[in-house]
């Protein structure tokens, strides 16, 4: 592709052709950007390849039984991760339910003029600061604050409503409920910040038009603004869910690391990330391969969640387009 840098001789235009420097900077930037983008793709591919390569022996040995077996027995060399898959999905879904609801509510609260602007800004900064707290600190806070705090209520529920599967065991210490509470606080900043941006992007005109038609504030928020921002809000939820799936340290400290499948909110459980974190340092050959396999499963789950999220996004935006 040849580019002519010269203007016609008799031009009276004030416009100038880009200088050689501007052209070179432009070219250089696009080359660097392309290399950067390709490196990231290559890196992801390499990580997948490396984990996959090390997982191959475990895949050959356990096959799909790995996904439905419930025992992690190092001595017999038989591994299964169904309880971990269950724990990962169950804890993340519950966290998304709590964290997502609170996050979207906060986003509405902070953007729809419930607060004077300077308070809204400082509130927002506070919530975003939650994202800067290290996972280990959340874990410690969970052990020393959340668990003692929820224990009496949990045990009361178990005593009086123990026949309901969700409350069928008592909470002694680490368990699903404290883990879910901490997890939902951890995903809160992600959900709140992105939904806030999404709601902020709704054109002012639309809001005014809604009011002009005689809606109340709540009708405007729930029937016009939130649906208009639905695409952004659902991507906030997908990102929050992804964060919850991969969260490691706080969960390893709080969930009790017990390989069992239970509906009860007060039972100890386990997650894939917690399994990896606690078993990797001392794993010998065969266990390491099984852990690599588990890591691959975790990657696959995250991928599937993201794909489903994207499909929902496309679907909602198409539906919105029709209205």
């Amino acid at each position: 592709m040849s580019v002519s840098l010269e203007l016609p001789k008799n031009s009276h235009s004030l416009a100038q052709a880009p200088s050689v420097v501007a052209y070179a900077v432009n070219r250089a930037f696009s080359v660097v950007a392309t290399i950067g983008a390709l490196t990231i793709i290559a890196l992801v591919a390499y990580i997948l390849y490396e984990i996959g390569r090390q997982a191959v022996p475990a895949m050959q040995q356990s096959g799909l039984r790995f996904l439905v077996d419930t025992h992690w027995d190092v001595q017999k060399g038989s591994f299964g991760i169904l309880p971990q898959i269950w724990g990962t999905l169950y804890s993340s879904l519950l966290a998304l339910l709590i964290g997502g609801f609170v996050g979207v509510t906060i986003a509405i609260f902070l953007t729809q003029g419930f607060l004077p602007p300077y308070l809204a800004v400082s509130f927002r900064t506070l919530i975003e600061m939650l994202a800067a707290i290290p996972s280990v600190v959340f874990g410690l806070w969970g052990i020393f604050v959340v668990i003692p705090f929820v224990r009496p209520g949990a045990n009361w529920l178990n005593e009086h409503f123990g026949s309901i599967p969700f409350f069928s065991s008592s909470l002694s210490g680490p368990g699903l409920l404290p883990a879910v509470i901490v997890l939902s606080i951890m995903i809160l900043p992600t959900v709140a910040a992105i939904s806030q941006d999404a709601i902020g992007l709704v054109p002012y005109k639309i809001k005014e038009a809604a009011y002009g038609m005689g809606t109340t504030r709540w009708e405007a928020i729930l029937k016009v603004i939130v649906p208009t921002a639905a695409v952004g809000i659902s991507s906030a939820l997908v990102l929050g869910f992804g964060r919850a799936l991969g969260e490691t340290m706080a969960l390893a400290m709080l969930i009790g690391n017990s390989n069992q499948i239970s509906l009860s909110l007060f039972s100890p459980a386990n997650t894939l990330a917690a399994l990896l974190a606690s078993n990797f340092p001392e794993a010998a050959q065969t266990e390491r391969q099984a852990l690599m396999y588990a890591a691959l499963v975790l990657l696959a789950i995250t991928l599937i969640v993201n794909v489903i999220g994207t499909i929902i996004l496309v679907w909602t935006s198409r539906k919105m387009g029709k209205v």
């Binding site: 001595q75 668990i147 210490g173 690391n257 017990s258 974190a277 340092p281 001392e282």
Partner: protein, 343 residues
Amino acid sequence: MKNKRKLFLAVVGACFAGQLGLACWAADLRLVGSGASFPFPLYSAWFKDFSRKTAGVTVDYQAKGSGAGIQDLINKTVDFAASDAAMTPEQISKVADGVVLLPMTAGEIVLAYNLPGQLKDLKLPRDVYPDIFAGKITQWDDPRIVAANPHIKLPNLPITVVRRSDSSGTTFVFTKHLSAISPTFKEQIGSGTTVNWPQSDKFVAAPKNDGVTATIKQTPGAIGYIEYGYAKLTKADTALLQNRAGKFVAASDASGAVALAGAQLPADLIAWVDDPAGPESYPIVSFTWMLFYQKQDPEKAKYLRELVAYGLTEGQKSADKMGYIPLPANVVEKVMAASAKIQ
């Protein structure tokens, strides 16, 4: 004294300045080790002191865990390793240069518990505590526990067992002891660095000794196994265990030393004290080993031998202060003789 201190400060200062220019590193012979986390507080004190007293030698030790230490030794990424679970013959056969296993210190494993009302001196008979960890006794006011403890009023509270979530030498020693005294525990759970604990809502796992300690401290009705040093440090309540002679014994330096005194070390220096005899013995004790290559660079070998000699003489003096059991004199002699194999 004052002068000595000044000199030390000067050396430290010089090294610090030197490190910036990497001069100090280059001059040093570095001995790199990794492995067990249980003796880490003691080892790190030893190595610091040894490095200070021996000019030109620095010892670095990473507490990765027994399994990882053995792995490093097999992969030849370290000069020595440490393990609570010694080495299996299979692992030894993987090291082409040959291995020397030397017991360097010993420790006790205690059952720490958390009962509301600060109930002290809980006594656990030897047919009871294996059943707690096998998930058969689930209540603190179980008649068998009550019968052994007429002096305290046990609450109507479920027992929450706290175990290690990671693979651990502590688990290995503890389950080996339980398997030795309870055939049903041996049959159902067995022993190893990780075992299949019963599936129950009342079995929770926490990472590392300090994770287990924190969980016990935060959970009313919890019981778990930790190293004596950690219980000492956190002032956790620990149970009196019934030994082979039928007496209830608390963990202490003295009761641990008595238990070890009966140990007979074979030629390879791997001995387990699964169930020590003697009326004063604390029942759960174990040696912990350092692992060396038989063949290596002669200069390194010389300093490794010196390191062992330091640990066996000076080092034993600081052991009981830090919650470890000093090795009996006859063991020290045997280990010293065996250290000559490091060439």
